[in-house]
């Protein structure tokens, strides 16, 4: 069962990433990004990270992609094509890891899966909540993260406003 959901969501993540990289239109890439992010959320669930999968859906799929689509609507659609000389160097660089991964997939597909079942993962939402609010664990980073979010909120409003001509 875990194997099936892993294959499904992993396929979603891989197909989505591939489409982000290869789609010729910006909006299509943005929607492919949704597919990839939902796939990653599903992979989190297969790893027993329930809360993190929910966070991924809420923040990434619900928030960041909307931001991207607004960004696409507010900017000109230029420079989305590949130019062949510009693609040459990244293509050559990408060949090496592609070869490594194809080799990995070719020789070791059966090594990727374990026969039988493992112990069930423990849902850790309550443990995450306690870790966030325990002082010798993650309390300080948690509070700092809210400061970072506040600074990013104010900063992005300041950056994105339309400047008056002077």
């Amino acid at each position: 069962m875990t194997s099936f959901s892993f294959l499904f969501f992993g396929g979603c993540a891989l197909a989505g990433s591939l489409l982000v990289a290869l789609m010729p239109k910006l909006v299509h890439s943005a929607f492919a990004l949704v597919l990839a992010l939902v796939g990653v959320a599903g992979l989190y669930w297969t790893l027993g990270a329930d809360f993190l999968g929910g966070v991924q859906l809420l923040v990434y799929v619900g928030g960041i992609t909307i931001l991207f689509i607004y960004g696409i609507m507010l900017t000109p659609k230029d420079a989305t094509r590949w130019s062949l000389p510009a693609l040459l160097l990244p293509g050559v660089i990408a060949l090496v890891p592609i070869a490594v991964m194809l080799n990995m997939a070719w020789t070791g597909l059966e090594a990727l899966f374990l026969p039988g079942t493992r112990d069930e993962p423990v849902p850790g939402t309550a443990a995450i909540g306690e870790a966030f609010l325990t002082r010798d664990q993650y309390l300080i980073p948690f509070e700092l993260a809210s400061l970072v979010l506040l600074a990013a909120l104010v900063g992005s409003v300041y950056l994105a406003r339309r400047r008056k001509e002077v």
Binding site: L33, G71, D78, I98, L114, T117, G124, A145, G155, R163
Partner: protein, 108 residues
């Protein structure tokens, strides 16, 4: 049949690779940001996979440390996307396009 750590590594490595490819092969700033999101997701997936399959207690950690790191990655990615898109909009007001190879000055 259960997926092992290496199976998650495979997905994560492929996502990282495609993210890098997206970042370097396009010149539109929005594509570059999407590639960055793919890379961040690949890294977070690695953290969570290690937290599930590794032995964090043997190293003095707790089993949810990897998930906490991934949560902070999501938080910082949200902040990064908001600020970066603000910068892209500002770029578009000063230059006619958002081709990342075109801007060549910091002030007017």
């Amino acid at each position: 049949m259960e997926p092992r750590l290496a199976a998650y590594f495979f997905v994560s490595a492929a996502m990282f690779l495609l993210g890098v490819f997206t970042m370097v092969s396009r010149r539109n700033a929005i594509y570059v940001l999407m590639g960055a999101e793919l890379i961040l997701n690949a890294a977070a997936l690695n953290f969570v996979a290690f937290a599930r399959f590794g032995q964090p207690a043997a190293l003095g950690g707790s089993p949810i440390d990897g998930q906490m790191f991934a949560i902070f990655i999501v938080i910082l990615a949200a902040a990064e996307a908001a600020v970066a898109l603000g910068i892209v909009l500002q770029l578009f007001q000063h230059f006619p396009s958002i081709d990342v190879t075109k801007p060549d000055r910091l002030s007017d």
